[in-house]
């Protein structure tokens, strides 16, 4: 498993419209998630201030290799979106 902090954006969840993580939706659409992969808001941004301009949120992802590989390979993210990562 890998733990990483990654920059992404708030976006409406496609199912219930809640403010969600764009990165999670992208990984799910790409089929890159493994059961047990988790993503957590690392900013503690007040809900009243979502989404601000500019719209940026930092998430902490704990995931299996496929999700991390998908982040690195994605032109929307890539290594530049990863603040740090570690092998667990």
């Amino acid at each position: 498993m890998i733990r990483a902090r990654v920059m992404t954006q708030w976006t409406p969840d496609p199912v219930d419209g809640s403010n969600g993580f764009q990165l999670w939706n992208d990984l799910q659409a790409a089929g890159a998630l493994t059961p047990g992969d988790t993503m957590t808001d690392a900013t503690n941004q007040p809900g009243e201030n979502i989404a601000p301009n500019p719209n940026v949120v930092i998430v902490e992802i704990v995931c299996a290799q496929p999700a991390y590989d998908a982040i690195i390979a994605s032109p929307a993210y890539g290594i530049g979106a990863v603040l740090w990562s570690e092998q667990l």
Partner: protein, 213 residues
Amino acid sequence: MPGVFHTLRRGAVRTFQAAVAGPTVLFYDTFTGANGTLITARAPDIDTVGGGWVQYKNAGTGDFSISSNKCVLSAGASQNYLHAVAQTNVADVTITGDLTHRISGASESLVGRCVNTSAVSLWRALLLGGNMVLQEANAGAFTQRAISAGAQDGITYACTLAVSGASIQFTAATIATLSYTSTQHQTNTRHGILFVTNIGGTSGIVDDFRVTA
């Protein structure tokens, strides 16, 4: 090993380990009743404060009712989006329930620290679209705080939403535990369930709902 005396041979020391008190059950509902009974129309198994369930319709016309001794939300001609809460007078609690997930057209959740019975300001631990999600709601605006993959359609998960101080933790057995830190809604003492059933969707199910402190 609670309450056990150890008696040894002459000259030996006899010790006693006091029984450890278990958690106090504040509210408990097994949803036992005739099919179609509204959960608000009957007394739960344990209700230390009294008052039972108070239901609030955020959208739609459905109601929480009993089906095969479990709680469901009826499907309707429009989206049914309801929550029901019980007053416990305690903010730091562990909320447990068995949630059966419906990926398509529904979501089901335990909710904690609801600000009052009529506003959707609370913590929500839900199963949604194959994910388990921890959401913060403020006046009806929902924000994901943590999410994990792996919830399957039709499967029943033993779920726990534990709120203690600023610690918010959602566990769905066999999937994951999501943790978050926030003081939002920290002193609210109503806890319960929140379901959504879309047009044509099949309701999720909750059973053995319990609040302990």
